[in-house]
Amino acid sequence: MPFNSATFLVFFSILYPLYLLLRSHGRAQNLLLLVGSYVFYGFFQPAFVALLIVSTMVDYFLASAMGRAESGTVDGARRRKRLVVTSVVFNLAVLGVFKYFNFFAENVAAVLRALGMTADAFTLNVLLPLGISFYTFQKLSYTIDVYRGKVSPTTNPVDLALFVAYFPHVAAGPIERASHFLPQLARARHVTAGQVEAGLFLILWGFFKKVVVADNVALLVNAVFDQPGGQGSVNVAVAVVAFAVQVYGDFSGYTDIARGLSMLLGFDPTLNFKLPYFARSIPEFWKRWHISLSNWLTDYVYTPLTKTTLIPLHWYYKLLVSLLLTFLISGLWHGANWTFVVWGGLHGVYMMCSVTFQAHRRRWVRWLRLDRWPAGHQALQTVFTFALVCVTYIFFRANSLGDATTLCLALIDPSHLTSEGARQALATLLFFGVPVIVIDSYQHSTRDLLSVPKLPGAVRLPVYTALLAGILIFGVTESMQFIYFRF
């Protein structure tokens, strides 16, 4: 039941009026949302609803036990540590079995074969549970935060179950934090007109980005990435930029719809995107793109790595290694494929370079007098950062490392600079990219992601009309899955 399906429309049309009727009964609203969330999840994969419930209950009991253990005593601290380690091992084991078992089994077998041993990979024929990477990280953040004393363990299992299975976020985030979400569940939600208007705008804009921009641009991307051989450099360049547009339209579109739905339900959802392609450096890109994942990795992977004594290096090199490891883990989190590992590794290297050359870059800017021309300087930084991100997308989208290599070589081959196909693809890309560029530029100029609903009616209504008409005319009606549903 993806958001861009008629089934979801029916589902939400039934759920929402009931939810509004229960507006003064917070607990009943939570229960209704929990039932709705399990129904929503069950539409995708009914068998994995049980996994969702069981794994949530395991974390509920572990966190409750941590809450009962006295943190002031040595025994209590040990017990809490054992419980949090159990939770981490349990969650990573579930994730490992469902998401990474086949990947590791195949790679171990390949290594053994390379060493001359006979080995057949024992693989499990299991489906990937929807949103497992997202909800596992959410559950981990809950138990770790309880361990760290940042969050009190909830006494209500319904609240924790809803925190994990909440239908707008369960499939592809944003990755909520218990400290932000659980307090919202503790009170009844009163939906204001402002929330509804902002929510409806986000849903409209999210749908536009998904069904008009991403799904149409996907055709250009697939044509090149699914047949990487014999492509010209401009063809590849256009396809890579098209994928940048597609993945942004798809994922930020999904996030906008999810957040818009949350606002309609009276929640204050976590922000996940801040116009990432306006970033002026790679570190800034990661503060604007998939923010909830970046923050999660910072809090639970990067920061502990920089403090660990297991990496026996000078603090500066430990910091660089921690950056690289964090991004390799980020790559692996996205998918059990070496292409994602390389993608994460490239971002890790970019981050290391960014940290290493920060002072040099400032000197170069002054030497080139770019600081006297801020608009041009910022535009250059933005374009350069975007290009660097695009290079990593080759690995993110390619079906295999071999395909990615073929495409990289094609990209730097000057013998096929232009072709009619590339020009047409570029025209299509520009056509679908322009609305996003215009609206994002406006949001960038006002520094407000909700600046469009604040426009005067004479501008706002034509914009809404154009977006809705655009969805009706250009919307791809075949329900294409969101890219991040695979993760």
Binding site: V238, L271, L275, L346, C353, P374, S445, R447, T465, A469
Partner: protein
């Protein structure tokens, strides 16, 4: 080790930068070579305006950010969500305004598409209805059918051979026989029943699938008026609703046409002002074709399609035929059914012979059950140099021959009919 790590990082940075620069250069080369080629001043000016708007918004933001050599935007300058504090009345007016806006756009699209349809096939349908609307006097010979008849029957030649005025109201195959029945009804409503009806269709007319978007081009107030003539026996209520939606909600149902229009306007904003050319029809409805673009490769594609799908009888096409037969019987209209002109290579094809024989049999049996209908099961074939853009469309020279051939066959049928009649009288 630190030095080696540093050198490695420099090398990696240099490689990444080189790839990024190539990416940007390739992209910019394509960007400038593509859209600017042959662009008009108006289009360049329009897009310069849009780019200036974006650049203006960007520079406004940069100016606010101020000078400096920062390597990234400070946290305070990154966008965030500032909550909306709007009263319920504003929300209601926004919702209402958006709905009204979409309705206005929809009706504007309907108005525009009624006049300036870019799709040549559907424009043909519209123009044939215009022709029927502009006719002052009835004709002796009414020709209905698909595009093989539209490009294959010359009314002037037909009139010269058979005597009496004639008009060609053939349209396109995807309009289906239902549309032909609609045309016949409209003609009867305007002039009374025609004396003679000639039906010219290609061999695949029975396989055409009901297409609400094409049928919506008929200026009949579908589904929303008591003038609706078709009973659910001919078009089901669901299909009537689809036609009504296609007629009144072009924003969704005509989106292919609107896509072409808007994308054309994006490439060249001036194109929105350039009205599409009308289909070149003679005053009596014939659409001449002069260029031969048919090839053996296209024949192979047709044969493959025949092998794969065969020639089906769709529910819609059968209902359309039955409706016409009912009208013909009701008003006693003499009707001649012909297969449109076709490529002689296709006739030799085993796939065609195997699949078309049941169709011919069906027509013969159906005609045999109705006194007014005569099915001529002859195939009229032409060499490749006389074919137009496919195996069923002929160029003008062949259209003249085809029209004479069917006129001659009608004369023969009339003679046989007269002698049979006089023998009966004797």
């Amino acid at each position: 080790m630190a030095l080696a790590l540093r050198k490695g990082l420099v090398a990696l940075a240099a490689i990444s930068a080189a790839i990024a620069v190539v990416c940007i250069v390739s992209f910019l080369v394509g960007l400038t070579l593509g859209p600017l080629r042959g662009a008009r001043l108006f289009d360049v000016a329009t897009w310069s305006g849009v780019l200036a708007l974006c650049a203006g918004m960007w520079s406004r933001r940069s100016a606010r950010a101020g000078r400096g050599s920062q390597v990234s935007s400070p946290d305070s300058q990154r966008p965030t969500e500032i909550g909306l504090d709007s009263p319920p009345r504003r929300l209601a007016s926004t919702l209402l305004g958006t709905v009204i806006g979409v309705l206005l756009v929809n009706f504007a699209a309907m108005f525009y598409l009624d006049r300036y349809l870019h799709d040549a096939s559907r424009r043909t349908v519209s123009q044939k209805w215009e022709l029927l609307g502009s006719m002052d006097t009835p004709v002796e010979w009414l020709v209905l059918g698909d595009s093989s008849g539209n490009q294959g029957v010359i009314p002037q030649v037909l009139s010269a051979a058979l005597g009496g005025a004639s008009v060609n109201l053939c349209t396109i195959g995807p309009a289906t026989t239902v549309h032909q029945a609609m045309m016949l009804e409209a003609y009867i409503a305007k002039f009374g029943p025609p004396k003679n009806l000639i039906l010219v269709n290609s061999f695949v007319i029975t396989a055409e699938v009901f297409n609400p978007v094409v049928l919506a081009k008929a200026p009949v107030p579908w589904g929303l008026s008591p003038m609706l003539r078709f009973s659910p026996d001919t078009i089901s209520v669901k299909d009537q609703l689809r036609v009504a939606l296609a007629r009144y909600v072009p924003l969704y149902y005509e989106n292919r046409e609107l896509k072409t229009l808007i994308r054309g306007a994006f490439k060249a904003p001036s194109s929105i002002l350039a009205l599409p050319h009308r289909v070149a029809l003679t005053t009596d409805g014939y659409m001449p074709m002069y260029d031969t673009v048919f090839s053996e490769r296209m024949l192979l594609e047709i044969e493959e399609e025949l092998e794969r799908q065969g020639i089906r009888f769709t529910d819609g096409s059968l209902r359309g035929i039955e409706r016409m037969v009912a009208l013909v019987e009701q008003y006693g209209i003499r009707t001649f059914v012909f297969t449109g002109p076709m490529y002689d290579g296709l006739k030799q094809s085993a796939a065609f012979g195997r699949n078309f024989a049941p169709v011919q049999r069906w027509w013969n049996e159906r005609a045999a059950r109705t006194r007014q209908v005569t099915h001529v099961d002859r195939l009229y074939t032409f060499p490749m140099e006389q074919m137009g853009d496919d195996a069923q469309h002929v160029v003008h020279v062949a259209a003249e021959i085809y029209t004479r051939q069917i006129a001659s066959d009608i004369r023969q049928i009339e003679q046989v009919g007269r002698s049979t009649q006089s023998a009966r009288q004797r």
